[in-house]
């Protein structure tokens, strides 16, 4: 969703720039209390993580690309003030070091993605955490939903900017643009929500001191074994399916169809590297990641695979499929558990893999 130079008129860009600077100054003031020895490297990592997932870009509307935003993730891990700074840093570095996003549009981009996205994500998160149990599943669900809301609202921030300073009358109505943006970003939000939820729950389980939203408190153990997990998965799936259905309906008229977000048509070699065919992940690698930090750094010196960049690309494009796969595996694990009466290794263990071969 990086706006490039010249999309939004000068006066509006300037106004947003002023607002962004003022709000960032506020964040800096508040962050000073938070940014201690521990939070400084954490903030750096959150920024790096967001930087990495933002590398997958695809066009959504004239002059606007869609990708993960990371505001809710940042808010959950380092709080709203430092979180907004993290996302801003990502945007500044992208503009200056990677020529991504216009320098004169920095104010616009920071307003949408860093300020609006993080603030909304944090508010939703705090609200949900009050309602949901303080278990891993509860936190995960809260982060998941906060991500979706934050991404969708940030996209509406762009629409507002376009209405104010788009400088060109369109045959398609602003309502339609708004709906399309919301639809596409709901889908993006699901992918982002899954990634953010997995990340935050893992961190919360092992290092609760690193999750700002928990404020240092340990997670509660689920009262009844397994049930909240299932609730989480099914609830998440329901929301995902709903949004996906609605979104693809809304987005079907957008210039870049959603079919581009699948990997159909790609051939994949031994190590999961895309070797042929045409699909978004590959395009993204060629155009965006091909020259990017991660693509160059991924597995340099060890293999010509795409490493983290590839992994992230894969995960994002498969985000929706993953949700289903995840649920199926969970249920199968649960079944196997009750059948064998023994604990199968948890997520990511090979037992499940071989069982499915």
């Amino acid at each position: 969703m990086h706006i490039s130079n010249g999309i939004i008129g000068g006066p509006i860009s300037l106004a947003y720039g002023v607002v962004a600077v003022a709000l960032l100054a506020l964040c800096l003031g508040r962050a000073r209390q938070d940014l201690n020895d521990r939070l400084a490297p954490m903030a750096g990592l959150v920024a790096a993580f967001i930087f990495a997932v933002q590398m997958l870009n695809f066009p959504v509307l004239p002059g606007v690309s869609g990708h993960l935003l990371g505001g809710a993730l940042a808010a959950a891990l380092v709080g709203p003030w430092v979180g907004a700074l993290c996302v801003s840093v990502v945007l500044i570095v992208q503009a200056l070091v990677f020529a991504d996003g216009g320098i004169s549009a920095l104010g616009l981009n920071i307003s949408n993605m860093a300020l609006l996205g993080t603030a909304v994500g944090y508010l939703v998160l705090v609200g949900l955490m009050k309602l949901l149990p303080r278990t891993a599943a509860g936190v995960g669900l809260a982060v998941f939903l906060a991500s979706i809301v934050s991404v969708v609202l940030a996209s509406q921030g762009f629409v507002l900017q376009f209405v104010l300073g788009g400088e060109v009358p369109l045959t398609i109505g602003y309502g339609q643009i708004s709906a399309t943006m919301a639809g596409v970003h709901a889908l993006i939000g699901i992918g982002e929500g899954l990634i953010a939820a997995v990340t935050v729950t893992t961190v919360a389980k092992v290092r609760p001191d690193l999750v700002y939203a928990l404020r240092g408190a340990r997670l509660a153990q689920p009262a009844t074994g397994g049930l909240p997990t299932r609730v989480f998965v099914l609830g998440g799936l329901a929301v995902a399916a709903l949004l996906a259905g609605g979104a693809s309906y809304l987005a079907s008229g957008s210039p870049d169809g959603l079919d581009a977000t699948t990997l159909t048509g790609c051939t994949v070699d031994a190590d999961g590297v895309i070797t042929g065919g045409s699909c978004i992940a590959q395009r993204a690698q060629d155009h965006e990641l091909g020259g990017s930090f991660l693509a160059d750094y991924g597995i340099k010196g060890v293999d010509d695979a795409t490493g983290l960049a590839g992994l992230i690309g894969v995960a994002l494009t498969f985000a929706v499929g993953l949700a289903i796969f995840w649920a199926v595996r969970r249920r199968r694990n649960a079944a196997a558990e009750s059948a064998a009466g023994e604990q199968l290794p948890a997520a990511g263990t090979p037992a499940a893999v071989s069982a499915e071969k």
Binding site: G44, L45, A48
Partner: protein, 256 residues
């Protein structure tokens, strides 16, 4: 770990532009971009003059044209959509090559195209001649709040750490017979993502503590970068770029 060692956008070289202090280059790029964006889209000759300025800079920096062309592909989505605008814009229409397009849309498309391209090119020249770490040093010297430069510094280092940890985890899986067909990789990814985050954090945290134990106070010691500080002459040279752009804008505005 190589914090901001270089980045793939960096073109190694020893041109005068490379040797310009980073703070000068950043200030000049930002101001130049602002002037470009502030130029009314109808002033065609001005944009031509800007393009000449950019071309001269590229030659001075000895950045290959092919490299610039390839890297500016990042702008492709915008180009594609700028091309679409004439078809979606409302208002009076005209015929171009037998197609009916909106006049307003044509102008808007041109506006995005030319300002976007010039902006990307100037940003690429900055990135291509300035290692990432120097960009941060430049921002620091331009009085950017320390919280921001510090987060940015850690971010660059963590990108390396993340890539490095991801590489390690992948080798570990491969050498123990993981069969990373696509789906498995996605599944392993979901499980591995949180672990990757934690591992990267904990390694980065240890590195941070090691820096602390060698006297780090939140900014890189000045003695390591003394050679890159801007002289008055460099400021004068750097200022020439935006000043030239303003001159172009004004002459065009009032003469044409």
């Amino acid at each position: 770990m190589g914090a901001g060692h270089t980045h793939p956008m960096y073109v190694h070289g020893h041109s005068p532009v490379h040797h310009l202090a980073p703070e000068v280059k950043i200030a000049a790029s930002v101001l130049f971009t602002v002037v470009v964006v502030a130029t009314p889209r109808e002033l065609l000759p001005a944009f031509g003059a800007y393009a000449v300025i950019v071309a001269v800079l590229a030659v001075l920096a000895r950045v290959p044209a092919g490299w610039l062309a390839r890297r500016s592909l990042i702008e492709l989505p915008f180009v594609a959509t700028a091309v679409l605008l004439p078809f979606f814009a409302a208002g009076p229409r005209t015929d171009v090559l037998g197609l009916s397009v909106a006049v307003e849309g044509l102008w808007a498309g041109w506006n995005i195209l030319v300002k976007g391209t010039l902006g990307v090119l100037i940003a690429l020249l900055l990135a291509g001649t300035t290692p990432a770490r120097d960009v941060l040093i430049g921002l620091d010297r331009l009085r950017t709040p320390q919280a921001i430069t510090q987060i940015a510094l850690f971010m660059l280092r963590y990108l390396d750490v993340l890539a490095d940890e991801a590489r390690r985890m992948r080798i570990a899986r491969l050498s123990r017979l993981d069969d990373p067909r696509f789906l498995w990789q996605v599944r392993g990814f979901a499980a591995g993502l949180g672990t990757l985050f934690l591992r990267a954090f904990e390694r980065g945290e240890r590195v941070f503590l090691a820096m602390r134990s060698r006297g780090y106070t939140g900014r890189l010691p000045a003695a390591l970068q003394e050679h890159t500080r801007a002289t008055a002459r460099q400021w004068a040279v750097g200022a020439a770029v935006p000043v030239l752009a303003v001159v172009v804008l004004l002459t065009d505005r009032f003469l044409v």
